[in-house]
Symmetry: C2
Subunit: 373 residues, 2 copies
């Protein structure tokens, strides 16, 4: 297949490397795959992610690839040495990596004395709960941010190469410095994971009756607490500095809250001057931060209007509701299901653009749906 | 309307009091409504929540009600004195309250020297983001837990009265001691709220590019951070002791994590003996707690199988998917929509019982849907 895409060598055929191969093949490229595990690289090849490069330990023998771009798709702790090797081995190539931490890897490369003109750190913000080549998907990167970290030292053509590949697999390029990247993912990804885990850990030893009082709030907060400990140990250790900085801020607020709660004691009518202001500030600051989280399409947050509808717990009931919404010409922005304890029905909270809510309520009522609000 | 339900006097016609009135009227009862605000009590009456009792300041004049059960539905800080008044004013009646904190109120009643045989603290686990009589709904309590706190001092007939009313409005009675209740809601409701707010607060001052990297994880964790500061100041202050105890535990884990991250420093290959074990334990403990959160219908958590389907961002597309699921005879347990950045489509992650997943995948593929996994 003829393609104007660069020649890409992918080092590491786990979830990200294999998905990148699949996406590039779909875009018309013919990437070369290597992995230190022969099983992993042949599996990725068998899945259609590209053709095989030299086996580990046999580099430089036979047909050495001549990539324009080398993508190191390996765990953070082995990434610096693999990048250093690739920079030395392919003197004409640009080398990027896709690790979820950027500053520490760049520091390591500097320490190793690696020339950095042809190195571009990057991070596609895409992942799954599952790992390995078999979990790979050609559309893993579609619509996801792909952070590209360049600086004055970086050759412009190297940056353009990485951006071209990111765009070819459907990603939106977001240029950030390594520090900006690490601070951003600490706040929007790593610290939320820590908080979810810490809250969930408090439920482990509760009585059955006590956890039975769980509602939609705690389910939302703890959903990602099901994450893999091995993977997250790597991620948190790799971004220890930035995660620690955000957690220090969080702990300062937590300490203030604990102190205020201590002053309030156990009496509902305790005076405790200033204590309630601390509580209110914690919640109000959370309001302000919550308002900054982008909604669907990565757009600025939109205040959707929620329409609550009673749906039976029978196959097709929700489908009928959403088909009726479609007939009314109203597009769904978000949907949440809230089921009662032991009840054969639930409430569907559908979020729509504010201008569409009135018409939707009318249409659904006419269609025999029971609304709340 | 003839009813075998007890005569109920509701003191406080906010969201909970009005909803209780509406639910009791629907169940065939004829509750009496009072509130210190004449506007609030007449509004609740106009909404159909019951008939008016004596106006505030006019108690004891004219037709004094003779309730079997008095429900104090007021904010925690005024609840003890209202309960004490009701116990004295209606010597034959059982008195309950619905405040979200139980131990502190019982302590206050003891301090006030109130005889506790006819007092039964309770807490319907139902609420909304909105407050006041206008937000009242007859089905607010359906399928929700209604915690009932009795002890050796409580007259059995008083406990049965509260349980009967709770059942009449569709709730599931959960007997707990005041301490058990307060500890449970601290862990499953109050601390998750605090954590969501603390995580969200970290996003307030991030750059637009940084918050733009937000994915589904941080959106889940911070969803309830939009809660009302005034309401939550009351709730947290009212349960200060139990919330503080859970937050202390959480802070111990957080401190250990921060220390471990400090030992790891900023190098991806730092040795730091023991530090990674701390990180892994935090995530693993979160796994164990997460597994205890009940799923739909208040049942023990079920491991659903997730089927991921590409859906277009057009009206009716999701409805068509769910209608097709209904035709396949498969019931939806959970649904999550995941939209990519700037893309005209999204991924619907539908959770179904594991036994139904294979059949569903086949049916949807036959129906022309593009699946992932």
């Amino acid at each position: 297949m003829v393609s104007d895409l660069p020649e890409v060598l992918i080092i590491g055929t786990g979830l990200i490397g294999t998905s990148l191969g699949l996406a590039l093949v779909r875009a018309g490229a013919d990437p070369v795959l290597t992995d230190q595990s022969v099983t992993a690289m042949t599996l990725a090849r068998d899945l259609g992610a590209g053709r095989l490069g030299p086996r580990p330990g046999h580099e430089g023998e036979g047909s050495e690839p001549a990539p324009d771009l080398v993508v190191v798709a390996a765990p953070p702790d082995v990434t610096p040495s693999l990048v250093a090797d690739a920079i030395a081995r392919f003197p004409a190539a640009t080398v990027t990596d896709v690790a979820s931490v950027k500053g520490a890897i760049r520091d390591d490369l500097e320490r190793l004395g690696v020339p950095l003109q042809r190195y571009v750190g990057s991070h596609p913000m895409a992942g799954r709960e599952r790992s390995g080549a078999v979990a790979g998907r050609a559309d893993l990167f579609e619509g996801r941010a792909w952070v590209v970290c360049a600086d004055e030292a970086t050759e412009p053509r190297s940056v353009r190469l990485v951006e071209r590949v990111a765009a070819a697999v459907g990603s939106v390029v977001v240029p950030l410095s390594p520090t900006e990247h690490d601070e951003a993912v600490a706040a929007v990804s790593h610290v939320p994971q820590v908080a979810a885990s810490l809250v969930a850990a408090r439920l482990e030893h509760l009585s059955e009756d006590a956890v039975g009082l769980s509602g939609p709030g705690v389910r939302d907060v703890t959903r990602i607490a099901a994450s893999d400990p091995g993977l997250w140990t790597q991620i948190l250790a790799g971004n220890a500095g930035a995660v620690s900085a955000v957690l220090h801020e969080l702990r300062d607020d937590l300490d203030a809250l604990i102190t205020a709660l201590g002053e309030l004691g156990t009496g509902v009518d305790a005076d405790a001057p200033g204590a309630r202001a601390v509580l209110a500030r914690v919640i109000a600051d959370g309001n302000a931060g919550h308002a900054r989280v982008p909604g669907k399409h990565g757009a600025a947050p939109t205040a959707y209007t929620v329409v609550s509808v009673v749906v039976g717990d029978r196959p097709g009931e929700l489908g009928r509701l959403l088909a009726d919404m479609g007939e009314a010409g109203v597009n769904l922005e978000e949907i949440r299901l809230d089921h009662g304890l032991g009840l054969p029905f639930g409430i569907a909270e559908v979020s729509v653009l504010p201008g569409a809510a009135g018409h939707l309520r009318e249409s659904l009522t006419e269609g025999g749906w029971q609304l709340h609000d």
